[in-house]
Amino acid sequence: MDYLAQRGGRVKELEQQLAELIETNKRTQLKLQIAEETIDNLKADGKTAAAHEEARLSQAQREKQELEQALQREISATSALVAARQKAEDLQREAEAGARALRAQLEQLQDSASDAKLELTQQVHQAQAQVERLERNCAQAEERIQEAERTRRQAQQQHEKALSEMQRQLEDAITIAEAETSKRREAEAYAAEVEARTVSPAGLSARSSDDATLIKSLRDMIKQQEEEVGEARKIKNHAKNVQVVEEKLRSAEAKVEQAQGQLTDYAQLQAQVAHLQREALRWQSVLTDVADVESPEDVLHRLNQLGRDQATATQQLGDKEAEVRALKESLHMSVQQRQEGEAALKASQDACAELAATAARLERKVTLLTRERDGLKKIIESYDEEDGSELAAHAPAGTPQRAAQAARIDQLNQTVLALEGQVRELEAELQATTAAQQQQAQVAARAKADAESYASQAKRLEQECDDLGRQVGLLQEKLGRGEYNKATTKVLHYVHNPEAEAQKEVEQARQDALQAENAALKAHLQRLEAQVKGGTAEGSSGSEAGMSAALAEAEIAVLNRKVSQLEKSGMRLKEVFQKHIANFREACYYLFGYRIDMASEATPAAAGTGAVPTTFQLKPQHADDKRALLLFRFKDGNMELLPNEYTTRKLQKEVETFIVRYKSIPALTANLTMDMFQKQTQC
C-alpha cells in the first residue's frame, strides 16, 4: 500500500512535473513563438534594414556617381579652363608681340617724322632764304629801276642840252659856212677877175707884183676857208653825233620801258611774295596744329614718307584687324569660359553643399544605424541570455531545438555582421565622399582663382582690344584723308576741269585789266614822248591829265569786265524770270480760264510821269469764237474794260450788269466762263 501510495504519489509528482513540463514546454513554445516572432520581426527588420541599406547604398552609389560625374565635369571644366588660359596666354603673347611691333613701327615712324622734320626745316630755311633773296632781288630791281629812271632823266637832260648846243653850233656853223661861202665866192670872183686881168697882156707886167701878193693872200684865204670848211665838217660830224645821241636816248627809253616792265615784274613778284607769305602764314597756322611738322614742305615730305609707309601700314592694318578679330574672339571665348567656369564653380559649390548635406544625412543615418545595431545587439543579447538560461534550464544541449536556436542566433549574428560591414562600407564611402568633397572644394577654389585671373586677363585683353581699335581708327582716318602710296597709286584729274576753267576766267579777267592798264600807260608814255619831242612847254599839267586819262581807261576796262559779268548774270536771271513768268501764265490759264497777254503803252509822256498804262488782253479758254477777247487797261490802280467788237456786240448786257452796275470784273469773267462752259458741254 505504501508502495502503491508512493507510486501514486510518484505518479502525481510525475503528472505534476509533466504538467509543469507541459506548461514549461508551452511557455517555451510560447517563448519560442515569441522568439520566432521576434526573429521574424528581426528578419523583417533586417530585411527592412537591408532594404534601407540597399536603398541607402543605391542612393549613395547614385550620389557617388553624381559626384563622380560632377568631378569629371569639374575636371573637364578645369582642363578646358587651363586650355583657355593657355590660349589666352598665347593670344596675350601674340597681342604683346603685335603691340611691340606696333611700338617699333611707331618709333620708326617717329624717327622718320623727325628726319622729315629736319629735312623740312632745312627746306623751310631754304624757302625763307629764297624769299629773302627774292626780296633782295626785288629791292635791287627797284634800285635798278630808280637808277635807270635817273639815268634816263640825266640822258634826257644831256640830250636836250647837247641838242640845244648842237643846234646852236649848227646854226653858228651854218652862218659861218654861209659867210665863208660868200667870201669864197667873192674870192673866186675876184680870182677870176684877177686871172682875166692876168690873161690880158697889157697890165701883166705892171701889176705882176701886186697880183702875186694878192694871189698869195687869196691862197691864204682859201686855206683859211678850207680850214673853216673842215671845221664845218667837224660840226657836221658833231651833228651826226647828235643822231647817235638820239639813238642813245632811244636806247635809254627802251631801258626805261624795260625798267617799267621790271616794275610790273616787281609788282608781280611782290604779289607772289605776298601770296607766298600768306601761304607761309597759313602753313604755319596749319603746322602749329600738326604735330612733328613745322613747314608746308614738311607736310609734303611727311606725306611722301607716309605714302611710302602706307602700303606697309595697310598691310599692318589688315594684320591688326585680323589680330583684333582674333583677340575679340578669344576675349569672347575667355568670357564664355569664365562664365562656364563660374557656372562650374557654382555647380561645384552646390555639389559641395549637397555633398555636405548628404554627408550629414549619412552621418545621421550611421548614428541611427549604430543605435539600431546596438539596440538589436542588446535585444539579441537579451534573447541569448534568456535562451541560454532557458536552454540551460529546459532544453538540454544537443537537442534539435537548441541547435535550431543556435543556428538562428548565428544567422542573426551574421546579419548583424553584414549590417556592420555595410555600415563600415558606408562609413568608408562617407570618408571617400568627404575626401572627394574636399578635393572638389580645392578644385572649386582653384577654378575660382582661375576665373579671377581670367577676368583680369579679359579686362587686359579688352583694354588691348580698345587700344588696337583706336590704332585701327587712326589708320582708317589716315586712309580716309586720302593718303596713298605713290609707288602703287597715282592721282589723276581731267585737264579741262571746272576749277581750271574758273581759274582761267579769273586769270583772263586779271589779264584784261592789266592789258587795259598797260594800254593806258602806253598811251600816257606816248604822250610824254610827244611832249619831250615837242618841248616841255606844256609842263606837268599835261602829264597829270594823261595819268588821269590812263587811270580812267583802266577803270573803264575793269568796269567793262564787270559789265560783261553782270550782263551774263542778268541774262541768266532773265532766262529764269521768263521761265517763271511762262509758268505763271500757264498756271493762270489753267486756274482761271483766261490766257493773259500784257502790253505796256510806253509813251514818252507817260514815261515822264512814271504812270505807264498797261493793257491786258484776256482770251477765254472755253471760247468757240476766235474774236472772243476782253481788253482791260490798268492805270493808276484802276482796271477798266476797253470796248471792242466782242464786248459791244455780245456782252453788252453783261457789261452793263457787272461792270457798270456792280463794278466787278471777276463777276463778268466768271459769268462769261460759265456761259461758255455750259455752251460747250450742252452741245
Partner: protein, 206 residues
Amino acid sequence: MSRQAQATQNTITLKGSTKVVTEFFGYAVNSILYQRGIYPPEAFQQQRKYGLSMMVTADEGLTKYLSNVLQQMSEWLLQGVLQKMVLVITSVNTKEVLERWTFDLHTDAEVLNNGNVPEKPESEIMSEIQAIIRQITASVTFLPLLNDPCTFDLLVYTDAASDVPTEWEESDPRFIANAADVKLRSFTTKVHKVDTLVSYKADAEG
C-alpha cells in the same frame, strides 16, 4: 559667264556693277554740287532715281565734263584699276580746298580675275545707294557754309601702272589741313564696294 554679260535681277557681273557704280558717282556728284551750292539751283533739273527726286545739272559744259570723266572712270572700273574718286571743292579766290568728298572703291579680286557672278538683289543695292544719297542731302546740316564762290575738281586714284589718257594729267591729292571727317554709309554690289567719307575744313573756333 563672260564679263560682257549684263546684270540680271539677282546676279551682277563686272559690267553691270560698273554701270551701277558709275551711275551712282554721277548722281552723287550732281547731288553734292546742288546741295553745296557750287552751281546755281536754276542750273539743275529734277529727275526721279533710286526712289528719290534727284537734282541733275542742265549746264551744258558741266554735263560734258561729267560725261567725259565718268566714261573714263567706267573704263578704269572695268579694268579694275580705279581705287578712289575724290570730289574737291575749292574757293575760286583763294584756291583753298574747303571740302573733300571721298568715294573709296574696293573691287572683288575673284570677280575681276575669275569672272565669278555674285548674287545680290538689285532692290537691296538701290536701297543702300538711296541711304547714301539721303545722307549727302542731310550733310548740309553739319557742313560749314560756303561763303566764297566755289568750284570743284574730280580726282581719281588709279593703279600706278594704268595708262594715262591724253586729256588727263597727274594732280596733287589736294588734302585739307586740320580736317574733320564724317564717314557716311557704304554700298556694295558684291563686285564693288563703295565707302563714302566727307572731310571738311574744321572751323577755327570749333
